[in-house]
């Protein structure tokens, strides 16, 4: 079943504020096997000029994934998540995410298009602090395998 193209351009409501904790950053760093002290040790992060431990460059996916859940799992979109693989991902940071940040963002579906037998859905999340400071823009392209109308 092809995806519902009426979703192109659709903006979703802002997510609940996401509070970045030292523990979550540590868990994420541990899961990717990266023991960089800037992720684990506040004093070391401060030596580099950061206010607290910072998050790895791909950590924004955690926040954008929570924001994106309402996109991906909206039944009206018609996306079967077991058919989804990740196509492309980009992050553009104004500054690193650090422990203590309280972040929000509203996802928007930029495009849905055929890609051979597959479909490609691109959505973006502009992640800011609750005070409106831009932190990161994450652009995510998901591939829905074998769902193109011509497949």
């Amino acid at each position: 079943m092809p995806l519902n193209r009426e979703f192109i351009g659709r903006a979703f409501p802002a997510s609940a504020p996401y509070e970045v904790s030292r523990v979550k950053i540590k868990d994420f760093a541990n899961a990717i096997g990266d023991n960089n002290p800037a992720y684990l040790d506040t004093a070391e992060a401060q030596k580099l000029g950061h206010p607290d431990v910072i998050a790895p460059p791909t950590f924004a996916i955690v926040i954008s994934f929570q924001m994106g859940a309402q996109v991906v799992f909206d039944p009206a979109l018609g996306l079967d998540y077991s058919r989804v693989v990740h196509g492309e991902q980009s992050f553009s940071y104004t500054r690193p995410i650090h422990a203590g940040d309280v972040l929000i963002g509203a996802p928007r579906i930029v495009d849905i298009r055929d890609a051979g037998r597959n479909e490609a859905l691109t959505w973006e999340a502009v992640i800011t602090t609750v005070d409106g400071e831009h932190v990161c823009t994450a652009v995510n392209t998901l591939i829905s395998r074998g769902t193109a109308a011509t497949a």
């Binding site: 791909t58 955690v62 929570q66 077991s82 992050f91």
Partner: protein, 140 residues
Amino acid sequence: MSIRYDDVSVGDTIPSRDFSVQRINLVMYCGASGDFNVIHWNERIAKMVGLPDVIAHGMYTMAEAARVVTDWAGDPGAVEEYKVRFSKPVVVPDDDKGATLTVSGEVEEKLDGNRVVIVLTTTAGGENVLQGARATVRLK
């Protein structure tokens, strides 16, 4: 130890590193990221939807490749832009070896504002699994 912008030249290489990916890493990444897509932990369903086996999260591969850049730069907070295309899935068999990611980098461009562009090459089983992988890093 941080590398300095003035000490960097276009064409400088970042030596290749290997990263092992086993099922346990994917399970941990599911938990840490919140992405519990069954294709990352359930072989039965992965095969049912036409994949050869369980595959790694693209984001796991992206995270490992980033380590080559962040360790080179010294400060992981120096990464301003990071972009990849996932060109091949990383298949992670349920054995003692799993898969191995091999990542290397090269300075592609020096920009103003002490920024440099690093292009990354990431292979698994001899195939490029990331294409157009680039990080823009602000150095001292």
